[in-house]
């Protein structure tokens, strides 16, 4: 079973997710499936909304009788769906929903993306440790992802000796950021930390640069989309993306995926797509290793996974709460492309919460 926001505000990521899911299923089936059985993909649209997700989860569990579910959707939908899967004993992986509650729903629930707070902490660490900058303006978006990441960042900023001059926030519908640009200009920071999706990040970065702001910009994971560079144009040069997706890495699986995705979608894959693909991959791997399709056993095998190569990173493993333990890639935009800049390995910074 698979649910994703195919319509509504989050439709962009939903579409990428869906294509990635289809590629994953095709690949797995082409390799003969698992234990002699082929995968069947049942997809529903949850509009990234909680009440819709309740329907779709119930439908997947009740009507379609799925045993394994993956969400290619945002937190609100994942949070509403997780308890339902938990109760029904369905192994559930949230590919990129960042809210802590998803995994708290119970032991059947997994997450394949780093939680918001560690992402923010990683950003603070990166700014202080790698860039060696001390004075930051922070711009965050109004949704649970933005808020969670911001909290992580602010919590660690002081520890790392970063002074946050000012915080600004905007809503997902905003495309014009005049007041924020004016504010940042006044702050005159050494560095800017911003969260946002490509559709807000693109205009934001472009307007900051057009407004004459020269300080380096560190962006959150969701900056990661070719569309971001397209919108911001030359202004995107030099923007760092924390927990990015190192898409030019030499890796046959990744190359295959990138090519296939480009063919089906007409644009290159983003991190979101890679995460969804890996969700399927890791689930199938756990099934194989279990040698059975019994959800309880697969769940336990999955929980014990170690050092699994995902498309974006190598997964170290899951912690007690089934949160990922893995290093974070930092990309930088160079000549209109995301290229690998460095990798954060510091386990303490990246440690997910245990409860």
């Amino acid at each position: 079973g698979f649910q994703a926001p195919l319509t509504g505000l989050a439709a962009t990521d939903g579409k990428s997710s869906k294509i990635a899911a289809e590629i994953a299923i095709d690949d797995l089936n082409a390799a003969g499936g698992v234990l002699g059985q082929k995968f069947e993909l049942v997809t529903y649209d949850d509009q990234a909304k909680s009440d819709q997700a309740i329907f779709t989860a119930n439908k997947l569990v009740g009507d379609d009788g799925v045993k394994f579910a993956i969400s290619g959707s945002y937190s609100a939908a994942g949070r509403a769906a997780a308890p339902i899967f938990q109760k029904a004993g369905v192994v559930f992986i949230s590919s990129y929903g960042v809210h802590p509650d998803i995994t708290k729903a119970g032991d059947y629930c997994f997450r394949l993306v780093r939680l918001g707070p560690p992402q923010g902490r990683a950003a603070a660490y990166f700014i202080a440790d790698k860039l060696k900058l001390k004075k930051a303006s922070v711009i965050s978006m109004d949704n649970d992802y933005g808020e969670a990441t911001l909290q992580g960042f602010l919590g660690d900023a002081e520890k790392n000796g970063i002074k946050v001059v000012n915080k600004y926030n905007y809503s997902l519908q905003d495309r014009q950021f005049g007041p924020i640009v004016a504010g940042v200009k006044r702050d005159d920071p050494e560095v800017i930390y911003a969260t946002g999706y490509f559709f807000t990040a693109g205009p934001l970065v472009a307007q900051l640069r057009a407004g004459g702001v020269k300080a380096p910009i560190v962006g959150s994971q969701a900056f990661d989309s070719g569309k971001f560079i397209e919108i911001a144009g030359a202004a995107a040069e030099g923007v760092y993306v924390i927990d990015g997706f190192d898409r030019y890495r030499k890796d046959s699986k990744l190359e295959h995926f990138t090519a296939e995705f480009q063919k089906r979608a007409g644009y290159p894959p983003e991190g979101v797509a890679a995460e969804v693909y890996s969700s399927f991959d890791i689930l199938a791997d756990a099934m194989k290793r279990t040698g059975s399709l019994d959800p309880v056993k697969v769940r336990d095998t999955l929980a014990a996974t170690k050092d699994f190569p995902m498309l974006n990173e190598t997964l170290g493993g899951f912690n007690k709460l089934h949160e990922v333990v893995m290093p974070a890639t930092v990309d930088v935009v160079k000549d209109g492309k995301f290229v690998h800049f460095s990798t954060i390995e510091d386990a303490k910074v990246l440690a997910p919460p245990e409860e």
Partner: protein, 281 residues
């Protein structure tokens, strides 16, 4: 009954309460409100907080109704001052104000919403039955109101408040009562929703929700309780029946909405009997 059916029926019941209560405000009393989602949300948040604090179902439901109607009264008072054709937009404003406020309130979970709302203790089907009972009661209440002298006076106020005043009908108090009653029911619906999802997030109570509710009222036939209840059921189930078309769902939905209103501008009610004239300007 599968879990899916139960969850669907629960939402149907909640939407019936919402649409019928909006119809009391907009249909009976003529006060167009595009902010019903705010009262729904206020009820949900109030109930969620009370439920977490007390784990007492009746108390939480009452809290939802109370908060819904208090907010409704405030908006009602405000609405008395604005010209009637400004009201629709003012209520949109109420909705955005509500969501904008909640988004920044840590004690309401801000962007994160409130999760781990305790279960009602009735189980999913018990919950659903409770919701349906409340929905039935709401419909009955609405039918009764319309048949009573209050409904009669509502119609007069809706059509011409000044002329109503010359018949000793005090438009102000009627409008306030309509708001208080309609929003109390919306608050109740919110409380039921909180128990249904056990997780609430402000996105569920946004402007689009309000618009959908107004669509139910118009499609049902403004002022017709039964029509509006049917429309609420149909408009909730319809998108489900074509869930399989996935990304074309909204497209088809929008198309059907346009088509239906073009073919039956008087709403479902007008298809059954000749209430067309009542809908004329």
């Amino acid at each position: 009954m599968s879990a899916y059916t139960i969850s669907l029926l629960s939402i149907v019941g909640i939407n019936v309460i919402l649409a019928v209560s909006l119809n009391i405000i907009s249909g009976f009393c003529g006060q167009i409100s595009l902010g019903h989602g705010a009262f729904y949300g206020a009820g949900a948040y109030a109930a969620a907080l009370v439920a977490i604090a007390t784990r007492n179902l009746p108390l939480a439901l009452i809290a939802g109704m109370l908060v819904g109607s208090v907010l409704g009264l405030i908006v009602g008072f405000a609405s008395l001052r604005v010209r009637s054709d400004f009201l629709a937009v003012t209520t949109i404003g109420i909705n955005f104000l509500f969501t904008g406020f909640v988004r920044k309130q840590g004690w309401l979970g801000a962007e994160m919403g409130i999760s781990s709302i305790p279960a009602s203790g009735l189980g999913a089907s018990g919950n659903m039955i409770m919701i349906e009972l409340f929905a039935a009661a709401t419909i009955a209440l609405s039918l009764y109101v319309n048949a009573s002298w209050m409904g009669f006076a509502f119609r007069a106020v809706a059509e011409d408040e000044d002329a109503a005043a010359t018949l000793a009908i005090n438009g102000i108090s009627y409008k306030l009562v309509a708001f208080a009653l309609g929003t109390a029911l919306a608050g109740l619906a919110g409380a039921l929703y909180a128990y249904f999802t056990q997780f609430i997030n402000v996105d569920a109570f946004d402007f689009i929700t309000s618009v959908m509710l107004m669509a139910m009222v118009v499609i049902g036939g403004i002022g017709s309780t039964v029509g509006v209840a049917i429309a609420a059921i149909v408009l909730t189930l319809l998108p489900e029946t074509f869930r399989f078309i996935n990304e074309y769902r909204l497209l088809v939905f929008g198309g059907l909405l346009v088509l239906f209103i073009s073919l039956a501008p008087g709403g479902l009610a007008s298809l059954f009997h000749g209430t067309r004239t009542r809908l004329r300007r």
